[in-house]
């Protein structure tokens, strides 16, 4: 883990009416780090993602990217700084061919900047990106209308769209939900590859077995509060985590 943290989140707070969705949550993410975020339903995981990516404005707290304050900026500005996300409910353009979904991030000024002032052939770049997504069983997938593809493919298409921004921080909101075992198995190495190349990944996931295999650290949320953070082994051993997931204190034999 080298030097200055890439993403710093400090004491984020958000209340929706009577519900304290996120309360004083803070953490750090370094280059090439893989952070898992777990917690029961309604524990504020997705709100945390929305707060970091600017879709929801925080009541209090700060988000810093490389030391620069990006709290409360517009979602497209934050995405332009290099924080890409996927959505829990995939948000795609279903009446377009799959690869055309990637054209949108490729039209951004961030992409233009990274390509040295030239957009290049966007269609070719989009197809190239999709080639890495593990659709190898059917080479026509990129050209098919997105609405006709199965759910697991759409999830990976959403991932490809986030990666098209060439982000420095990637936030995955339940990427694996609804994906088959083999789809997860083919996506994990891809994430690990990008991670090893320096991409910082924050992954919200309910499928703990797969998550614990790849992450460096795990953060646990419950009722909007961070209850613990540590290595997968530490988190699994924590009494508080068991309590949060099972609701009661249980004696394990």
């Amino acid at each position: 883990m080298n030097g200055e943290p890439l993403l710093q989140v400090r004491d984020l707070r958000k209340r929706f009416g009577g519900v304290q969705a996120v309360f004083d949550v803070g953490f750090e993410l370094r280059r090439g780090e893989f952070l898992g975020v777990i917690g029961p339903n309604g524990s504020g995981k997705t709100t945390l993602v929305n707060l970091i990516t600017g879709f929801v404005k925080p009541d209090a707290g700060q988000v810093l990217l490389k030391g620069r304050n990006i709290t409360g900026k517009m979602p497209y500005t934050i995405a332009g700084f290099g924080i890409a996300r996927t959505f829990q409910m995939v948000r795609l353009f279903y009446n377009l061919p799959a690869y055309k979904n990637l054209i949108i991030p490729l039209c951004s000024s961030r992409f233009k900047k990274l390509r040295g002032g030239r957009y290049g052939e966007r269609d070719d770049v989009a197809i190239e990106l999709l080639d890495d997504m593990g659709f190898e069983r059917d080479s026509l997938v990129p050209y098919k209308v997105a609405g006709s593809l199965p759910h697991g493919y759409l999830k990976r298409l959403d991932l490809a769209r986030a990666l098209a921004l060439r982000p420095e921080v990637l936030i995955l909101d339940e990427l694996f939900s609804g994906m088959s075992m083999s789809e997860v198995a083919s996506t994990l190495p891809l994430l690990e590859k990008f991670n090893q190349e320096g991409l910082a990944i924050m992954m919200i996931e309910h499928r703990l077995k797969e998550l614990f295999r790849v992450v460096d650290r795990v953060m646990v949320l419950n009722f909007g509060i961070k209850i613990t953070e540590g290595s997968p082994a530490e988190v699994m051993a924590s009494e508080e985590v068991k309590k949060a997931y099972l609701g009661i204190q249980v004696e394990l034999e």
Binding site: Y76, A79, I103, I104, R161, L165
Partner: protein
């Protein structure tokens, strides 16, 4: 089974030529070529010949149809980006007043005022509506509906730019024929450019904003910037129509901010069909001459006009253009059901 009566049903087949892939055009024969070109080239050819053939009253109707057509195209372009407007009169009026003011007070010829009004109208529209692009759906529509009415009242009460009397005796275009070709040329040009733009990557982003603006934002695209650009383009086309009308009439009055110029384009798109621009063009080329030919009926004109509009919208909810395009690509035949 008693085979006394034979059941028949209609069977529909889509025509089996896929002439266009993404980047390659494959034309098999002159028949296929005609099949694709005819529905595109024929209306264009007719429109280009009409100004020479049609003079006098119906010549005016043609110019009028093209002016409404421009407004309908401008409406459809904004709608493609998810901006539902009820105020094309704003663009129309801004263009008309800019051209009128430049001509009346500064005595600039139409060759300067029309381009200046087109550009200036687009910029003013973008500036006026730029601050409300965050509003969605009916809220945005309400603002666009109110703005032209507000301008009209301000001009009426303050007497600015001729007030209720308007600005008379403006410079006309050199000839009737030139006016007609300006209108037809602007109309066809906008139609062609809009159809090109909407299928480019730029248009793709615009359409995506309409579908799901959050997904576009997560792609690092400034959606409000894009919407303002769409308003500029749309506003410029509407202002061009207004400037054209002002010099054609040689008179400028506050009626250019009237509700007609907001509602008729929407009606034309509703009739023709949204999203292809061809529908918007078709709708206005039907509605305006229809409205004129009903003039002979006197008072009942508007009632009959509304009736036709209602029936066609209920009958072809997808729009006349989409219906015809679908039918054009289908074979229909009757087969026996055993």
């Amino acid at each position: 089974m008693v085979a006394t009566s034979v059941h028949r049903r209609k069977k529909r087949l889509d025509r089996g030529i896929k002439a266009r892939t993404d980047t390659i055009f494959l034309i098999a024969s002159w028949k296929d070529m005609l099949y694709l070109l005819l529905p595109r080239m024929l209306p264009v050819a007719i429109l280009l010949v009409l100004p020479v053939l049609v003079k006098g009253y119906w010549g005016k109707v043609l110019v009028y149809a093209c002016i409404y057509g421009l407004l309908a195209l401008s409406w459809d372009f904004m709608a493609a980006g998810g901006l539902f407007s009820l105020g094309q009169a704003l663009f129309f009026g801004l263009g008309a007043y800019l051209a009128g003011i430049l001509n009346y007070y500064l005595h600039l010829p139409p060759v300067v005022t029309v381009p200046a009004a087109t550009l200036g109208g687009g910029l003013l529209s973008a500036a006026l509506l730029g601050s409300v692009v965050r509003l969605k759906g009916v809220y945005f529509a309400m603002i666009t509906l109110m703005l032209p009415l507000l301008f009209k009242k301000v001009i009426e009460t303050t007497g600015a730019f001729g007030g209720t009397h308007g600005l008379p005796s403006l410079t006309p275009f050199p000839s009737e024929l030139l006016t007609a070709y300006l209108a037809v040329g602007g109309f066809l040009g906008s139609l062609f450019i809009f159809r090109r733009v909407i299928n480019s990557d730029y248009g793709l982003v615009l359409r995506a904003i309409k579908d799901d603006d959050r997904a576009v934002m997560s792609g690092a695209i400034n959606i409000y910037g894009r919407k303002i650009q769409a308003i500029f383009i749309s506003g410029a086309v509407g202002s061009f129509a207004g400037a054209l009308m002002t010099h054609y009439y040689q008179f400028l009055g506050m009626s250019v901010f009237a509700l007609d110029y907001s509602i008729l384009p929407v009606a034309a798109v509703a009739l023709g069909g949204q999203g292809t621009f061809a529908g918007a063009a078709m709708g206005s080329l039907i509605l305006v001459p229809l409205s004129e030919s009903l003039r002979a009926l006197g008072g009942l004109r508007i009632a009959i006009y509304c009736g036709i509009l209602i029936v066609s919208i209920i009958g072809f909810p997808e729009g006349l253009f989409h219906y015809l395009a679908r039918k054009y690509h289908q074979f229909e035949r009757v087969v026996e059901v055993k």
